[in-house]
Amino acid sequence: MEKAAGHEHAEGQQHPLSIYLWIWGLLFVFSTFSYLVDYFHLHGYLRWTLIITFMVIKAGLIVAIFMHMAWERLALKFAILVPPLVLLILIGLMAVEGDYTFLTRLAAFLR
């Protein structure tokens, strides 16, 4: 049971430790980049683009490598990763709704 290679493969995910150390390092680097965006007071679209880029890279690394999603079968990937996409519709609707509320408030306060 101790070193039955075939059994261990069937039981779970086995990857070299160096992968985790690499990803760990990358997460540090990208977190530092995100922090520097704020530190150097970047503004406007440059700031938002950089924040979202670093966020997506970090989230992708965590899900793919730390959570082992990269090695799961496509059926599981679809079952877990596709449903959250409907949230983009919610976010879009709420952004439009927020703008509308803002404009009605301005109209009401200016009257």
């Binding site: 049971m1 101790e2 059994h7 261990e8 069937a10 039981e11 779970g12 995910q13 086995q14 990857h15 430790l17 985790y20 150390l21 990803i23 760990w24 997460l27 540090f28 977190s31 995100s34 922090y35 965006v37 704020d38 530190y39 007071h41 700031r47 938002w48 924040i51 670093f54 966020m55 970090k58 989230a59 965590i62 899900v63 490598i65 730390f66 959570m67 082992h68 799961e72 079968r73 496509l74 059926a75 599981l76 679809f78 079952a79 877990i80 449903p83 959250p84 949230l87 919610l90 976010i91 709420m94 952004a95 709704e97 927020g98 703008d99 509320t101 803002f102 408030r105 301005l106 306060f109």
Partner: protein
Amino acid sequence: MAENAVTTAGESTSALAGLPGVVSDWSSDKQAFPVPWGKAMMWIFLLSDTFIFTCFLTSYMNVRISTTVPWPNPSEVFSLNIGGTRIPLILIAIMTMVLITSSGTMAMAVNFGYRRHRANTTALMLITAAFGATFVGMQAFEWTKLIREGVRPWGNPLGAPQFGSTFFMITGFHGLHVSAGVVYLTVVALRVWRGFYDRKGSYETVEITGLYWHFVDLVWVFIFAFFYLW
């Protein structure tokens, strides 16, 4: 459990890849996911948690767009005076690094678990829990600081009242997840130490615990980007 191992072993040799694989996994009245049931259920739980956190962050976006009062600048609100200089957002940056470090130690704990290194797995999981407790401690410090400055869920002296309500709700709910994770990690770590999973013949519980912990880190990535940096 034995069924699982058989299915998984069979899958690895004969299973189709890509889209035909998706069809074959979902058809023929067989088990759709060739993973331990606990892992599939943890993923589905995390999926539901994703919806909860997205609802919180979306409501935050909505009130931040719609308020006519200026939003407090998080960079200044969360700055600290260290050695006479004011460093913006430094506490949050340290909290981010603490949580990422804990995710790294957790990933290594999972790895050592599958290699059946009982001592290393236990130690790394307890280190992960300690980093988690440190994170919650720093969050308590942050809350105390803001409450002293007069920030309340219904208003604050810095600007839009929605700042306080969304801040306490989002970071509070995340902090609750971290706290629960610390308890979860400690319980599983002690079971590893006592040899529970050696007797069970499988260390998959360590990986499942890891999934939960990495998710907590994942949520923080989004909170950090949208609440603190935006």
